[in-house]
Symmetry: C2
Subunit: 316 residues, 2 copies
């Protein structure tokens, strides 16, 4: 089987698009058309989101290689929302997109194993059956509980040919509260996590030179990104903070390697809600899909252009 | 309305039980009786767990004031498991128990707001309706993303008269990887989080002197617990690590204040799976319930005894 890091890299090169579209369906921000005829209940909201997500996925398939559903917006609707998350993942995969599940899970021991099995692996049922209810390709993981809490996610990802992105430097200001604290060797928490992940990444590298034992590094701190990139030369980086959060196309270049690979940049609100400035609240679904496709195309061109400028000899 | 920290404190005193029973239903560890007649599917597993949980709740109501369902064991079963989580919470509340949802959620900005609304507050739907799908009283929260990621949880908890337990010092060894890193002022990460939480806790304190802006502090590091207790004199502490993880009754005393309050000690496996040493795999449900009640009673007596020894003048 092709290593997942290679498979993602090939798709990025084919589309010239190291970008991922965040599926953050905020009920108050979606066009009215998706709610028509549905009850004002958790189930109705989940149905609206699934319809909305299918349109977003249809609009970006062929432009972006991946989508990143943010679990909070599904989970907040209870089990109806979680079912919608499962359906969204399955739909995106049928359309040929990679799915990065943004859930930032973390816990210790057996509990971490349960999360890893549920989100990345096989859930062994009581009898002979097994199930994989979420079906994502990649999962984001929070490292607050340390290396022994990360291990089950790393082991499961490698065994299943899936990937993880461990939070290393998040895109928000407050992240420094924990992430800038210093270890005895002079590294801060982000850097020490990067050193740990470098070692782990080496245990599973594709032919393209990258590992799916990756890291989240925000676009909002480009100098730090450069340091962290150097500490994790083989890890795929998931880069949030582009667009609505303030990161520009030039800010993301330090997250990449000179071959133009090794990172994937997320935009959520900048793509999903671009329609508010053009066709507006009462747009048709067709207008909405066009707005999403245009915003995704614009992002792809900006990122690709910035990379070409930074790395003229890149691979694609 | 009575402050939630007072309500929990009253119930702890009435039962002489500063303890919480963890609902960590691991499929491979449950008695066979709960699976009889159910299909070997995610839905069947969720139904078995709900039946099992009702028996655990019935057995411990009147002994312990609270239960702590660990989300990983539900979420791993997909939306069927999340529905079981919702049903379990509702059942525990009907039986008069407090529910501490152990989900360790965390994210930034709008996403943290979505988690806080879903788990502790009101989810505003598209129309005039609102919903609270999970219904827990307390939620555990991970602080890796820093103060601005914690704020939505703190604000929502206070507004809704609910509580949070922020991870400060976890019970696992690996936790030190992040939690021992040092700030410029000499505090480590755990201590600096404690200083932050102390300030936040002060903004909502019950008549008993405690705040439901609390912290997780493991029983496995009693010296550190003493320091952290002193830094957070008003915060309720949730104490994992007792029993199966190695913490003894004497180890938990430093997590409490001299009035015998201010903390609640969790045991999960030590209570749920005590039956394996007595009636075994093929026990009846009635035998299972008795085993749970006996193990919960034993834990209550151990903790209460250790507290009485450490704090002879405690309030109950």
């Amino acid at each position: 089987m092709q290593h997942i890091a290679d498979a993602l890299g090939e798709k990025i090169m084919a589309l010239k698009a190291p970008v991922v579209v965040g599926l953050d369906p905020a009920l108050e921000s979606m066009p009215e058309a998706y709610f028509a005829g549905l009850p004002d209940t958790l189930e109705g909201a989940a149905a609206a989101i699934y319809d909305f997500n299918q349109d977003v996925i249809d609009a970006v398939a062929g432009i972006a290689p991946a989508v990143k559903p943010q679990m909070a917006f599904y989970e907040m609707l209870g089990h109806a929302g979680v079912r919608c998350f499962e359906e969204t993942t399955a739909y995106a995969k049928r359309r040929g997109l990679f799915v990065i599940e943004d859930s930032k899970r973390n816990d210790i021991g057996n509990t971490a194993k349960a999360y890893a099995a549920g989100h990345l692996g096989q859930v062994k049922l009581r009898g002979a059956s097994a199930a994989s209810p979420y079906g994502a390709d990649f999962l984001t993981v929070s490292p607050f509980l340390g290396d022994d809490s990360l291990e089950p996610f790393i082991r499961t990802a490698i065994a299943e040919n899936k990937g993880i992105f461990v939070l290393v430097r998040t895109s928000n200001k407050g992240g420094g509260m924990v992430q800038y604290a210093k270890q005895e060797d002079g590294h801060n928490v982000s850097e020490s996590l990067a050193v740990y992940l470098k070692e782990q990444a080496q245990t599973s590298v594709g032919t393209g030179g990258y590992s799916a034992i990756g890291a989240v590094v925000g676009a909002t701190f480009p100098k730090e990104a450069k340091t962290l990139r150097a500490l994790m030369p083989q890890s795929l980086l998931l880069v949030p903070g582009y667009g609505a959060q303030g990161g520009g196309a030039a800010d993301v270049a330090p997250c990449f390697c000179p071959d133009g690979l090794g990172a994937i940049v997320n935009s959520s609100r900048g793509i999903l809600y671009a329609y508010q400035k053009t066709c507006g609240e009462n747009c048709t679904k067709e207008q909405y899909r066009k707005s999403v496709a245009a915003a995704a195309r614009e992002m792809q061109q900006e990122i690709y252009g910035a990379l070409k400028a930074a790395y003229p000899d890149m691979k694609y």
